[in-house]
Amino acid sequence: MNLTKEDKILEVKNLCTSFFTDEGEVKAVDGVDLSIEKGKTLGIVGESGSGKSITSLSILRLLQEPAGRIKEGEVIFKGEDLVKKTKKQMREIRGNNISMIFQEPMTSLNPTLTCGEQIAESIRIHQKLNKKKAWAKAVDMLKLVGIPSPEKRAKQYPFELSGGMRQRVMIAISLACNPELLIADEPTTALDVTIQAQILELIKNLQKELGTSLMIITHDLGVVAEMCDKVAVMYCGKVVEYADVKTIFTNPKHPYTIGLLNSVPKHDEDVEGDLSIIPGSVPNPFHLPEGCRFAPRCPHAKEICLTKLPHLEETFDGDKVRCWIHSEEWEKQGKAVNAHE
């Protein structure tokens, strides 16, 4: 785990992003720490509303201001803090160094331009190529992402393509500038599984070929297991566990991670009787629990969990866990407080 700065393409430190609404402040991202190694893939998992998307939008500085604002923290990309960059500098970084793919390709593609024009345009903004050369490169990109008869497809509009094809076009656009980091927010959630398999395979192959670092946001633990090297599990705006993929799936430590893994019905395994569940539901973002955010649902919670927020601590095997169980104080604590059966 002793990585030097150079090995990390991105390092997020104590990122805090809030939304200020009529009802009050929503701490969407509340002290997130994570990092991505060069050429590697980080997965972010967690339930709806846990702050996955806002983390990525904060990194890219694409928050809807002024309602949403980064309050604190650093986003170190290649040694420089993105939080301190101007809007103009960020636009350049988003065009040249970091790209993003969203869940619904239809809403992020321009319906009035052909696919070829859109790719060529993003090439021309960032590379000084003439129209003809940019078009040729656009067709190359379509070919690269596995679109059959790319010359013909380049002349078509997004609505003329299937969902899987559109996602390929999105990938082509986002890779056109040779980004060092690609952030993909639920890139395959809207797609059918057989098409998802195609797209995941494509992303993996392109990553190998181009050496791109990758951050994948997903609620699908299968996708994480297939794609990622490292995993950050988020709950209520915080990272509760951060470890390599093998550890997360074979030796998870945070009670939320364990609960999450157990409640997924698996297609390749029989479960006798009922699924194991996490009782209750995610707390209201305006009334977060004071101590550990997971305490109201946690089968192990003790007194300290209700009052004091645990830190993200490194365990003996390099796994990082935000839970009192892994502290020295734990043994001194009394009985568990939640009487879940």
């Binding site: 299968g222 698996k266 297609h267």
Partner: protein, 329 residues
């Protein structure tokens, strides 16, 4: 579970017209469901799986006559639902309920939970008025919502709780069959597990029969007794759960199962990656509809449509694929 058929779907077709030209004439049809037959026994959970546009939801809607089918028969306890008048069908819905993916869209935002349940009982007049309040309380407790919350509005509940309200509404008329159309798909996994357990529990308690429509094969494996796999409006395989997951026979079923990313990182399996996209249901391929993407397709597949045939040794398994013939030879 019994071997008594509760629902029999026979040669069901659902074609939606495509209008065109100046006169708005029907120029073609989307063949959303194209001649499918299956049986659901009392107390059983039968799932329909397949990718978007394969006809899963259309089948569910046609059975309940939310859209009247183009042709075919739907026998419920031996009675043909298709021949019923509208008024008769409305009465029949007491026995056949449906739960949708988005509970929010199907709950009236201006009604409290108790009004929603009361209205359902009123329409079907199953519970005498004086007993309704008590029944509502029971129903809410059954689905795990405190009865003290009965005067709240849908927006005051979380997604999982709203789905529980949708379930309570379906239960309020004492149905025999519930069609669950992607009923847990929009829920987070931890909440999804709660609702799945609830559905199983209710089935035991009230001897319910489920037709469970889902694209999630993990969920389907957990809840089903038998599974129907559809592709482009056709059934390609029907089998007992064990046979389907342990020994899938249709090349599409095999590809579908192998495409699902697995959380089992110790055992990486070789993946079958299908080429291309699902063809259009307006103009589906002739012969076997899967032949354009099938890794094993041979000449016969492009000309002759395979029929569903029994292949199970012991258990129940039917497959529509010419390879079955070839292997039998």
């Amino acid at each position: 579970m019994s071997n008594q058929a509760l629902l029999e779907v026979k040669e069901l077709k659902q074609y939606f017209p495509i209008k065109g030209g100046v006169f708005g004439r029907t120029v073609n049809h989307v063949k959303a469901v194209d001649d499918i037959s299956f049986t659901v026994n009392e107390g059983e959970t039968v799932s329909i799986v397949g990718e978007s546009g394969c006809g899963k939801s259309t089948t569910g809607r046609a059975i309940l006559r939310l859209d009247n089918p183009y042709s075919g028969n739907v026998l419920f306890e031996g009675e043909d639902l298709i021949s019923l008048s509208k008024a008769q069908m409305r009465k029949k819905r007491k026995d056949l309920q449906i739960i949708f993916q988005d509970p929010y869209a199907s709950l009236n935002p201006r009604q409290t939970v108790s009004q929603i349940l009361e209205e359902a009982m009123e329409i079907q007049s199953v519970v005498p008025r004086k007993d309704r309040r008590k029944k509502i309380q029971e129903l809410l407790e059954t689905v795990g919502i405190g009865a003290h919350q009965m005067d709240r509005y849908p927006h005051e509940f979380s997604g999982g709780q709203r789905q529980r309200i949708g379930i309570a509404r379906a239960l309020s008329v004492n149905p025999k069959l519930i069609v669950c159309d992607e009923a847990v798909s929009a829920l987070d996994v931890s909440i999804q597990a709660q609702v799945l357990n609830l559905l199983k529990d209710l089935q035991r308690q009230f001897k319910l029969t489920y037709l469970f429509i889902s694209h999630d094969l993990g969920v389907v494996r957990h809840i089903s007794d038998r599974i129907i796999v559809m592709y482009l409006g056709k059934i390609v395989e029907i089998a007992d759960k064990k046979a389907l997951f342990d020994d899938p026979k249709h090349p599409y079923t095999q590809a579908l199962l192998s495409a699902i990313p697995s959380t089992n990182i110790a055992e990486k399996k070789e993946r079958i990656i299908l080429k291309g996209d699902v063809p259009s249901p307006i103009d589906p391929p002739v012969g076997c509809r899967f032949h354009t993407r099938c890794p094993y397709a041979f000449e016969r597949c492009a000309v002759e449509e395979p029929k569903l045939m029994n292949v199970g040794n012991g258990g129940f398994q039917q497959v529509a694929c010419h390879l079955m013939d070839e292997q039998a030879k």
